[in-house]
Each structure stands twice: as C-alpha cells, then as structure tokens.
C-alpha cells in the first residue's frame, strides 16, 4: 500500500484545513507510519465477494412525502453563532 511522507502529510493537512507545527512533523509522521503499517494486515485478508458494511444498521431507507415547512425562526441556534446579523449567521467574505 501507500508510503507516507512529509509531502503527503502536508497535502492532507491542507485538505483538512489543519496546520501541523513543523517541530511536531517528525513525531506525527512516525506515529502515522506505525499505524499505517498495521493496516497492511487487512490487505492480506481475502475479502472477495464480501458485501461491504456501509453503516451501523441494516435498516432499509424510509421515505416520506416531499413536503416542506416554512419557518423563519432560527431559534436559539443563532445564539451559538460566533457572529450573527438579523438572525442569520455572519460569515467572512469568500471572495475579496
């Protein structure tokens, strides 16, 4: 399977929007390698023909009428926002 290195680690951090302290990079990488090494054990297992288990239950999907609720009261959720305006979440600009 895959070989992990600093370049891949940096790319993953970029994707996950996480900073890795350069001083901790080596430790991070070493821990990562030891965990990934064990993942190889799974590769030796024959899983041909096995149907993957994709969730916690084998419940069937339940569908409902596609009706809608009109509700302009954002309720107390707004109070938990870092910034809000007129009952809406205030976000920083996406395009400068």
């Amino acid at each position: 399977m895959a070989e992990i290195n600093k370049k891949i680690l940096k790319h993953l951090a970029e994707l996950a929007r996480i900073e890795i302290d350069p001083k901790k990079e080596d430790k991070f990488l070493a821990d990562f390698k030891s965990i990934l090494g064990h993942f190889e054990e799974l590769a030796n297992l024959d899983t041909s023909g096995v149907v993957p288990m994709t969730g916690g239950t084998s419940l069937e999907n339940i569908t409902r009428e596609d009706d809608f609720n009109e509700n302009e009261d954002q309720g107390k959720g707004v109070e938990g926002f870092p910034e809000s305006k007129d009952g809406y979440l205030k976000v920083p600009p996406v395009f400068e």
């Binding site: 399977m1 929007r17 996480i18 297992l45 288990m53 969730g55 239950t57 419940l59 107390k76």
Partner: protein, 475 residues
Amino acid sequence: MDIKGLTIKKIHHDLVKKEYSAKELAKEYFDFIKKEDEKIGAFLSLSEEMAMSQAGEVDKNIAGGKGLGVLGGVPMAIKDNILIEGLKCTAASKLLRDYKASYNATVINKLKASGAVFLGKTNMDEFAMGSSTENSAFKITHNPHDLERVPGGSSGGSAAAVASEMAVAALGSDTGGSIRQPAAFCGTVGLKPTYGAVSRYGVMAMASSLDQIGPFTKTVEDAAILFKELSGQDIMDSTSAPVSYGDELLNPKIEDIKKLTVGIPEEYFVDGLDKNVANKINEVVKDLEKLGIKTKKISLPHTKYALFCYYIIMPAEVSSNLSRFDGIRYGTREKADNLIELYKKNRDFGFGPESKRRILLGTFVLSSGYYDAYYGRAQKVRALIKQDFDEAFKKVDVILTPVTPTTAFKIGEKTDDPLAMYLSDIFTIPVNLAGVPAISIPVKNNTGLPIGFQLIGKHFREADILGIGQLYEKM
C-alpha cells in the same frame, strides 16, 4: 444523610417514603462534589441552579400527589458531548470552550421527563477521542481507586463521578469502548446499547455508524432501569430502530436466564491479556456455571482485524463529522486575513493532537487513490467481523470476554504512544463494528484495581446480558 451506595432504586423508594426530599438530596451531592472533585476532576462544569429547580419540581409533584417518575430526583452526571439546552457543551475541546447548547439531546428530554436531576457535565477525551481522558483540553481526571492512574476514556469523567459517589448514575457515549473501558477501570457498570436502540440526536457525532449513548451505574439493575428510560425510536435520528423493550429488562425471569448459553471466544484470551485479569475472568465463568448457565468455547476468527479496521472507519467518519468545527458556526471565532487562514487558525488553535491525528488519518484513508485500499476494504472487513458474531449467535445466546487487557494504567504512561493507547480498546471495538450490545460489569471478590468482564448480546437482546448480569450481581 449518607449518600454512599445510593442507587436509583433506593432513591425512588426513599423519596416515596419521604425519607428526604429531592432538594435535600441534590444539595447533599453538591456539597460532596465541591470537596471530592478537587482531587478527582470528574466534572467540567456544575449546573446547580438547574439541578435545584429540577429537584424542586420533583418535590412539588410528590407533595401534590402527581407521582414520581422512575428517575425522579436521581442525581446524574452527563458527558460533555451531550447537549443540555442553556448549558455549556464543550466536548472538552478548546474550540467549543464558550459554546452553549441551544437545544436538548433526545436522551436529555427523556431523562427530564422521568424526573432526573442534572448535577453537571463531565470531563472526557476531546470529542470522545481517547482511552484515558488525558486528551481533554481542560483537565486530567483521576481514577478514584488510585489517583495516579487514569479513569479510562473517553467517558472517564462520567465513570469517575459514579465510582467516587459524586453521582448516582451518568451518561456516556461509546464509539469503540468509551463507556465499557472506563467502567472497567473505575469499577462501575457500563452499558453500550445495540446500535439504534438509543437516539443519538444531540450527541456531538464522532463516528456516526459506531456511536451510541449509554448509562454508567453502580448496579446492573440500575443500568436496566436507566437503559429502559433512554431507549426508543426517535424521529430526529433516522438510524434509531423501531423497537420497544418490555418488562423483562427490569424483572428478568431466573428460569429463562439459566437456560441461556454463554460463549467464550478463544481469540480474546491472547498474549497481552494480563494474567490476573484472565484469572478473574475465568472465575466469573465458573460463577456463571455455578448458577446453572451453560458455557461453551467459541471462535470469532476475524477478531484480530477489528482494531485496524476500526482505525480506518472511525477516523474516516471523524474527519467528516469534525469538518463542521471551523470557526464559522460554533463558539468563538479567531479572526484571520482570509477565509482559508480563518479555518486553519481556528482548527489549529481548537483541536488537540489526537483530534488532528485522527482527522488527518481519516482524510488519508478517504483520499483519492487510497479509498479502495483502505476505507473500501475496511468496510468489507467490518462485514466479516459482524458475520463472526452472527455465526456465533447461532450457537450461543451471550458472549463473555474481558473488557480490557489490563487494569487502569498510570497517568502519562501511554500519552506519547498512540498505538499503545489504541490497544487498550482491543476487546471492546469489535462490538461497535458489529453493532451489538455489550455491558461491562465489575468482577466480584477482587481486592486490587477494578477489573471488568464483558457480556455481549445479540442485536436488541439487552435483556439477556442485563439478565445474566443481575443474576451474577445477586449471587
């Protein structure tokens, strides 16, 4: 008033007999917590005002002849990843240090309806990721049986609160062992219900296909009482199942319990299992045989793949679930020059090392080019693990195993070695992957640090494991 040894059952009895009031009881608990928790560190916050008003309500209902709920006046501690409206809910993360919940989790509404009194929110590993509660951004929790040792995790605060008598019962969440492992380390009972038995609405999701909420109690009987109150389908959680549990949970028929067959899987008695723990588990097997329960050696052949199967599936779900914590929607926002920097700054400041490690690991196993090799394969291995249990449950009704390979380890012992930390959940993880229920029960006649044994049941057959547990408890 002596609060030592109080149970849900006893409190109900005492309140009916007017031995004390719910308010007196709550006050007694807060007085004790304020002294005791200085050395244990189980609570992140106390909710005295809310508790006294809940207790007052209970007293008013008793006085007015309106009756007493099953949990009426029962002082409980709640893990800090479960939302209680108006109270801080931090998941022990710096990122949510100022976040206040805007609604109640379904389990909280159920407990309130039953009259429970909320003492406060308990410490945990950040976002429920860890096995020792050392990943909390705020404090260390100490094991009440030995203050130099960890209480286990991630629900370590809840386990320690019940074990040190600072709460009669508590709620935790269990994704790979986070209720059962700390229960075993602290000497309490801890139940991980069947996936879908209890609504997850209002618990901060860690790995959605594995998470379940469950009780910590002092007795198996109390676990049965509390589980019955928590369970049930919920329109707010599409994975909650349409089941209802009957009276057999609370009043198991001894004749029926004695007819159950208990399987002992050879794969759980391996190198790394402490000798003393193994001996104690064997004593439990003999005790059950004395009760007339049949035991049988069985095999769960894919057990050894469970740990690393879990460490692919869980981080994958974590990386997705924790993406919402980006400084935009919850708690406090650290400012930055542009949007990407704002995300990074908030997540860097907010997440501890273990959270970062799992987010990165999850991002890796889901990333283009690696998905099939890791995540896709792990889902197939998960199916094989579940199949092991399905096959075993054709031959036996319940499976008995150790909960942990060792007793509670020292604070700081495993913090630098994530792999060693992960291994402490090796016996609890397969249960979450398969979605079956399991309970951790303290072994009797044990003079050293607490040891737990695990009873694993068939899907939605909590009655079997709680039944055997209650029988063992009364021996």
